[in-house]
């Protein structure tokens, strides 16, 4: 079988190595790191990774011209998956260190966790179980072979609030019930790191690869 080529968007911000390693380990895809927006149109599947702060990340995306490239790419109906900060960037705006505009692919905002008690340590770091939200017709694709309440690895201090509840594909709880992933047509995203969530995380990446056109 020919390996499906998946673009890993490298906008000079955060570690992309883990995503590359995990995709290649899946043995059904070949991760191709791209750092120029013109390359995007060659691919039918793309991943927007990212760790760090929202403002600087958006700044780098724009500086490299990836904001427009991603927008055009998504409009053609091709699949994209945003991980952690990459997922947050899909939204309209974030309140991380000021107010910053995002890519505006998904209506909604990104907000900071509030400390509810002294035992609640922020960032939300570690493994947490998610509730799969079945009312979304794309959910089954992302969570194929994943049972409800499975745990995934999170590291973040901010969480997304999509305006349209039906775009959510899973929820998680940390002081507040928050959206841990979305699947909306060709846009997938998760707050957790599938590339760091052991076997179950790899299953989600495989599910993504499966949906990418050869």
């Amino acid at each position: 079988m020919r390996l499906k080529k998946i673009a890993i968007i490298d906008y000079g911000f955060g570690n992309i190595r883990s995503v590359v390693n995990a995709l290649n380990y899946c043995a059904t895809a070949e991760a191709v790191v791209i750092n120029s927006p013109v390359e995007m149109s060659r691919f039918n599947g793309a991943i927007l990774p990212g760790v760090g702060a929202f403002g600087p990340a958006m700044h780098f995306l724009k500086k490299k011209g990836f904001d427009e490239a991603i927008y055009n790419y998504v409009n053609t109906g091709k699949l994209i998956y945003g991980i952690c900060l990459g997922f947050q960037l899909f939204f309209e705006k974030s309140y991380e260190n000021g107010i910053h505009d995002g890519l505006r692919l998904i209506p909604g905002e990104v907000k900071k966790f509030e400390k509810k008690n002294k035992n609640m340590k922020i960032p939300h770091m570690g493994w947490n179980n998610i509730k799969i939200f079945q009312n979304n017709s794309y959910t089954k694709k992302m969570f194929k072979s994943i049972t409800n309440n499975e745990s995934f690895y999170f590291v973040h201090s901010y969480y997304v609030m999509p305006i349209n509840l039906l775009q959510t594909s899973s929820f998680c709880e940390f002081g507040v019930k928050f959206c841990s992933s979305i699947t909306y047509k060709n846009i997938w995203g998760s707050q957790f790191h599938p590339e760091k969530s052991g076997e179950k995380g790899l299953v989600i990446l495989k599910n993504f690869i499966k949906e990418v056109n050869a």
């Binding site: 883990s18 770091m125 052991g198």
Partner: protein
């Protein structure tokens, strides 16, 4: 619910897993990549590589080892030992590590915490504190594998590390390390009550209830080395015990 993380620590010297009592008398326990793969299979929530020979032998933690490991396991990997500057951190993160653990370098040049967390993000900066009790309820930070008393109070230092941008504290009790008498719960409680970021309890785990005690004292994660290497307990044993105490764990 957020789970209590169970973390095996691989103390590494010359690219082999070793573990000593109170950081001396090293014994060989195998190849780090293979050991990490085993732990991943057995349900470790995270893995820590600590190059214990790095600081005093002036060596850099091996980037090569991190690269090999990161291609085979897909859970968070933290690497520490002998990290001196931003370049070291960059090399280790680029090799595939998710976090770096800073110890001696951070104590003597605390700016590195601030710079590193600005460049790479707080989430990948772990500040390791080796604490030793010098009198009742007073702990100092020791450096260079626990051989030098920095004269700095451990609680003051933990707070400063948070201020500078640490994302997590790896708290090792030098008094308890290698004794199997349980974690230093007083120290753990003092630190975790005082700081808003996760604390990893380290040093002294010997019995199953030591892990639950650490959780009750405020730990977000529990670390052990020799206990797991010599298979006195498996990670599964520990998690089953924790689950029986209604402590949230991942299987």
């Amino acid at each position: 619910m957020l789970k209590l993380r169970v973390i095996p620590c691989l103390d590494i010297a010359q690219n082999r897993v070793v573990k000593g009592t109170n950081f001396i008398n090293l014994r060989d326990a195998g190849d780090p990549v293979m050991v990490a793969e085993q732990y991943n299979l057995y349900g470790a929530d995270e893995i820590i590589f600590l190059d214990i020979s790095a600081t005093y032998e002036n060596r850099y933690t091996t980037v090569d080892l991190v690269e090999k490991t990161a291609k085979k396991i897909f859970i968070p990997l933290t690497v520490g030992g002998g990290i001196k500057n931003i370049e070291d951190i960059r090399n280790i993160l680029n090799a595939g590590a998710d976090k770096v653990s800073l110890n001696s370098a951070a104590v003597y040049n605390s700016r590195i915490i601030k710079d590193a967390s600005n460049i790479f993000g707080k989430q990948c900066i772990v500040v390791a504190i080796d604490a030793k009790m010098i009198k009742n309820n007073k702990w100092n930070v020791f450096t260079h594998g626990g051989r030098i008393d920095s004269g700095i109070d451990a609680i003051t230092w933990a707070n400063k590390a948070v201020e500078l941008g640490a994302g997590e504290i790896l708290l090792t009790s030098m008094d308890k390390d290698g004794t199997k008498n349980g974690y230093d719960l007083d120290l753990l409680k003092k630190i975790s009550e005082n700081i808003p970021i996760p604390v990893i309890a380290s040093g002294g785990a010997g019995k199953l209830n030591d892990f639950s005690d650490a959780y009750y004292a405020g730990a977000s994660a529990v670390l052990a080395a020799s206990l797991f290497h010599y298979k006195e307990f498996t990670i599964k044993n520990v998690k089953q015990y924790l689950k029986s105490k209604d402590i949230p764990v991942r299987f």
